[in-house]
Amino acid sequence: MSYVKPKFRHPNLPTNRRGYTVADYDGAISTLCAGCGHDSISAAIRNACFKSAIEPHRIAKVSGIGCSSKMPTYFLGKSHGFNSVHGRMPSVATGASLANRDLTYIGVSGDGDTASIGMGQFVHLVRRNLNMTYIVANNGCYGLTKGQDSATADIGSIAKGGAVNPFEGIDLASLALLQGASFVARSFSGDKGQLEPLIRAAMAHKGFAFIDVVSPCVTFNNHAGSTKSYAETREHLAPMPVDFVPMRDEITTTYDPGTTQAVTLHDGSVIHLQKAANGVKTDDRTAALLRMQEARDEGNILTGLMFLDPNQADLNQVLNLATTPLNKLGKDELCPGSKVLKSINEGLR
């Protein structure tokens, strides 16, 4: 197996606004199974960061444990990163964001990492509206530990060994909606046309952006009878295409009147939802929940942007924390001395 990627790149690779090529957002060569959906998500994140011209060193990747949580090694090799403990990425992300709110945080997790061991941390992260992009690479199983059913496995889905899953699966996107998330989307690893703009929008969004990405495990969950195989997912996909136009760019694509809905983000970027004619509204949390539930009842996988509230205050704002990253504060500001401590104590008497 090749353990390095050749150095050569296409000589005509385009550069982004900051002069980087997409290769500047590459990571190490993947060690995931050939064909794993997670690799496609890695590529989508790489492409999204390139297209949005975020400088690699202004990005921090955080993850837990699992094949999915290994992904950050395979993209953005020049960015910051923390591969944490199983299910504990939210704590690390929270600490990092409190210390430096100026970085773009990309969290990558799995359905096991988030919906089982990490469930407690996850819901608190959602309700606190931490300013980050949180991607769950959802394959319905514990890939890294050889394919046991995860908590998102659909009821009735057949595991590779033949066992039928007797439990109702957790729908993380609905859960995030219920818990007050400000940006909720779902996508499929095999649909970069939709996934890339969603990731770009999530990174531009100021607040907690959750994307549940169906990402087939080719090794343990890609057989007949699995509801999260490539074939089954494609069969039941009900996608709503999305375009993302960053603040700086002109809108060049034209849409048939009445077929799209435009949503403007805090920084002036615009998300265009295509096929949005039939009354889809991204600012209606209840309607979004209903639509997702209906699709689920029909056995369909609704993908696209489900809900967005661009104006919700994020954790740093709610807690009214220092706007300057800690690494830019001087010793005196960080450690103001006994005088200040005294006056604080006085204030508490």
Binding site: M1, S2, V4, K5, P6, K7, F8, R9, H10, P11, N12, L13, P14, V22, I29, S30, C33, A34, G35, C36, G37, D39, S40, S42, A43, S189, G190, K192, P216, V218, N222, Y230, A231, R234
Partner: protein
């Protein structure tokens, strides 16, 4: 676009850029791998089967393969294909027992006129089939221009001797020092077919430039002068030499002059430096030997004083290009430039000359003086039993082209002598396509390209080189350097072969591909597809590989342009829809399986 028909061998042939560009289609990556594995004799035999003169060509080939080499499109410099060929020749063992022998006599007699690479290739290809081959040359030994024109500081005599010998030792009847002065005569001698490989022997002169006649004693036609040097009739030249012309002959003339007493040697050429016909490396070599190249100077006059040449006058010009890019040289109007000299060598081109082929033979010629030939496959002239090849066929070219002609002409001669149709019955190329999978993610070749840069071949010290006309200037690569240089080859013959029904469209190949070759897109016309790819496919010379429609209705489109043949697409494919398959392509030779044991190398 329609799905690519990969069962047509020409598709994958074109992907192997070097081999495709080589007139003889030498299997370059195969011999380069053999060199990397220190199998120099195998590397030599792969070459010998294909081009007959690996040692000669490894030093002198015009190497159209190198500008074509894929490596030159992904970094600065192509693989050192030509000089690696020399490595095979330098480091091989005694290979004589691997050479084919003359076949049992088949009763057919062939005459070969001229003993250059074209005729020698025909001889090599036909001898194993039992033809009685008679080779005629006006020179005292075989090799044609390789012997009489290419200076021995570029091509040592032993190297030429060895490889000409391999051919002649196959029982060829040689008739040296024999100038053929009548084709009509030849046709009465009972040959079943005649091959004309007499080259383009006439050097162009400047008969109308004033002073040409008066100064004749010190004005020489380059082609004749080089031959005189080669056969040791000329051993000296004046201290100050002007070489007129900008081609490779001019470069050989000036470098030879430096070795025969020329101290102040200049090349003076009409055209701008960039437009000169000489290969870039030959210009470099001349400049390295202290020879200035003065461009944009058109000869006006040979200045003769007291019956002796004293210099030349030139008109300074500027190149102007019209809308179609046609060049004209316009005088700058300045005073003529006078350049002093003792001798002038005229190296401004060469032409075909067939004064010995009579009209009544039925062999007809074009207005350019080249024979009318059926096409560049059969090489049959307007007289059915006479075939042309090498420089004699289409005018001056190079050794490897002469060899390529020779192979095709030999096939034609064999078909002709067996009463078969030269077109219908032509054998196809010998092609195989074999998976290189060794394990789950293991390939039989070094798939990941190395980053090493090309290095130049070391040279002997300049002073030493200029002191000895016969001393080879280039030292050749040592085995260690050769290994690194060989590893630079991208193995373009390891083809990416795609099987659409196996693809699950997981994107793994498109994601991993380091050079962004792979795309899953909606189909369209080629003009529509090219700009739509991840990196627009701007190099129209390189094909798009398009699959059948996939489950989603999209198609796979791979731009062949800068594929590294790294195999990562196939490694990352979960269903083996991609496979790396070794493609071998050998042009048909008159004698099949000329060198047994080369299959699959």
């Amino acid at each position: 676009m329609k799905p690519t028909n990969t069962t047509n061998p020409e598709y994958f042939h074109k992907v192997v850029d070097c081999q495709y560009a080589c007139p003889a289609h030498t299997p370059v990556p195969a011999y380069i791998r053999a060199i990397a594995q220190e199998r120099y004799s195998d590397a030599y035999m792969i070459n010998w089967e294909s081009n007959v003169f690996p040692g000669v060509l490894g030093r002198t080939c015009d190497r159209p393969c190198e500008p074509a080499c894929r490596r030159g499109r992904v970094e600065e410099e192509p693989v050192a294909i030509c000089r690696l060929k020399r490595v095979a020749a330098d480091h091989k063992d005694d290979i004589r027992d691997r050479l084919p022998k003359a076949g049992a006599a088949n009763g057919k007699k062939i005459a070969l006129i001229g003993g250059g690479p074209a005729s020698l290739t025909v001889a090599r290809d036909l001898a194993p089939l039992g033809y009685e081959l008679h080779l005629y040359d006006a020179q005292p030994r075989g090799g044609g221009f390789m012997r009489s024109e290419i200076p021995s500081f570029r091509l040592p005599e032993e190297v030429l001797e060895e490889e000409v010998g391999y051919v002649l030792d196959m029982g060829i009847h040689t008739h040296f020092n024999t100038y053929i002065d009548s084709m009509a005569d030849m046709l009465t001698k009972g040959y079943d077919a005649i091959f004309v490989g007499c080259g383009a022997p006439r050097g162009r002169d400047l008969p109308n430039v004033p002073g040409r006649e008066e100064g004749a004693e010190n004005i020489h036609v380059g082609l004749d002068w080089l031959a005189n040097v080669a056969f040791k009739h000329t051993a000296k030249i004046g201290k100050r030499v002007i070489v007129l012309g900008g081609g490779n002959t001019a470069m050989d003339c000036c470098r030879t002059s430096r070795r025969l007493g020329g101290e102040d040697v200049k090349v003076i050429v009409r055209s701008p430096f960039e437009d000169m016909k000489a290969s870039p490396w030959e210009k470099e070599d001349a400049i390295h030997e202290g020879i200035p190249i003065i461009d944009n100077h058109v000869p006006l006059e040979f200045v003769v004083k007291d019956g002796k040449l004293v210099g030349m006058k030139f008109d300074k010009v500027e190149a102007k290009y019209d809308a179609e890019g046609r060049r004209s040289l316009i005088s700058t109007g300045e005073d003529p430039v006078f350049v002093e000299c003792d001798d002038v060598l005229i190296a401004i081109g060469q032409e075909n000359a067939f004064p010995w082929i009579e009209k009544e033979t039925g062999i007809r010629f074009t207005s350019w003086g080249t024979p009318i030939i059926n096409d560049d496959e059969t090489f049959q002239s307007t007289r059915k039993n006479v075939f042309f090849g090498g420089d004699a066929a289409f005018g001056p070219s190079n050794i490897i082209t002469a060899g390529a002609h020779g192979h095709k002409a030999a096939v034609s001669i064999d078909l002709y002598c067996n009463g078969q149709d030269l077109e219908e019955d032509r054998p196809p190329p010998n092609v195989t396509l074999i998976s290189q999978k060794m394990g789950i993610h293991e390939w039989s070749y070094d798939s990941i390209p190395v980053d090493d840069k090309r290095v130049a071949v070391p040279l002997v010290a300049l002073e030493k080189a200029l002191g000895d006309r016969d001393l080879e200037v280039e030292l050749g690569f040592d085995p260690e350097t050769a290994f690194v240089q060989a590893e630079r080859c991208l193995n373009c013959d390891a083809q990416t072969v795609f099987t659409a029904p196996s693809c699950i469209e997981c994107d793994a190949c498109a994601d991993i591909c380091p050079t962004s070759c792979i795309n899953f897109v909606e189909n369209g016309t080629e003009d529509d597809l090219r700009p739509r790819l991840m990196v627009p496919a701007e190099n129209a010379e390189q094909d798009l590989y398009v699959s059948d429609a996939l489950a989603t209705g999209k198609v796979l489109v791979k731009d062949e342009d800068v594929c590294l043949h790294c195999g990562l697409c196939a490694e990352r494919c979960p269903t083996a829809a991609w496979d790396m398959q070794l493609f071998t392509y050998n042009t048909a030779k008159a004698a099949p399986n000329l060198v047994p044991g080369l299959e699959g190398l």
